[in-house]
Subunit: 197 residues, 2 copies
């Protein structure tokens, strides 16, 4: 298998983390996340979003979107629950992450770590909404060990990826004790690998 | 069941459309999508995203995110395929819609139909990216009757919701013959209901 990847991308890290925990081998092919001029050429036939991660199976079939790739490899393993409601809850958290969390928690990190120029007002507004997403996660984790069904799942992988490096986007996790304890539980899972592995 | 809903929301329409096609009854409870001041009070214990749609089952368990609700009701029916790769492809299109399509195709419609003040540059930039998303959908539908597995699924519901009213956001679908033909195929499905039903 080939993973079109970027080492700094949390979306790619989600896939790398699950594949590591499942013990699956693949080849990493790095794409630039700042200069995207070759995206159409490289990913045009593989992924309508032209984004990393994009995974190409050995038979040539391609899959885009981190959440879809996590589901493909996770379904039927311990990382996706069997109960229908819990399965939908896993997806709820994954859609929440892509819509309400990633654009506001990950994008400030991207700007700040890649030296992208952005005005302070735009950055502050992103962070304001990012904190609302983190509030939502904290509220749930205050009463729960993991996001769904009291066990580690791909929902935790999806939320962990950008939350554990939120400080690089200017976020202060000091106000989130439940999130910080959960980050430690996730990092202690068998087969865990760091984002820069 | 109770659906926290708004009649103009395409995300809510996705759920209403699938529930209609499945013949399931529920109570609609409308929330304002412009004045969101009561969201925390109404949805705080139900949905970390504080968004509509939020669905509450008869036993009190709640589910947020349109994609998760579609999956919950669609899994095990003709609206979600059985093949593992096709299932992941359905999710790929649904994540693509929420990340690359909805914020750029739905939001201009929201601004324009709700009379939200926005500067022309911001609107034009949203529309530019929205057209890239529509290009991705058109490219796929040029060779396919439906988004996944050549049959109607919740992926089609997810993409149909805001695409069929994209003109209200200032988009010209005239340049997308494959999308226009697909919109007609979707609207001709048994049990189809319009967004204002």
């Amino acid at each position: 298998m080939v993973l079109f990847d970027n080492p700094a991308s949390g979306n790619c890290y989600k896939v790398r983390l699950l594949l590591a925990q499942l013990g699956l081998d693949y080849e990493r092919r790095e794409l630039d996340v700042v200069d995207r001029s070759n995206r159409k050429e490289v990913l045009g036939d593989l992924n309508p979003g032209l984004r990393v991660p994009t995974l190409v199976l050995d038979d040539g079939r391609a899959l885009g979107e981190s959440g879809a790739i996590l589901w493909f490899f996770g379904e039927g393993t311990a990382y996706v629950p069997d109960d229908p409601f819990d399965r939908a809850k896993v997806l709820q958290w994954m859609f929440f992450e892509q819509y309400s969390h990633e654009p506001y928690v990950a994008v400030p990190r991207f700007w700040l770590t890649k030296g992208i120029e952005v005005d302070q007002e735009t950055l502050a507004e992103r962070q304001r909404v990012g904190y609302l997403a983190l509030d939502g996660v904290e509220g749930h984790l205050a009463d729960h060990e993991y996001l769904v069904g009291e066990r580690y799942s791909i929902a935790d992988i999806a939320l962990y990826a950008y939350t554990h490096v939120a400080d690089e986007g200017g976020f202060d996790l000091g106000r989130y004790p439940a999130i910080r304890a959960w980050l430690e539980r996730v990092a202690a899972q068998p087969g865990h690998v760091p984002i820069d592995a």
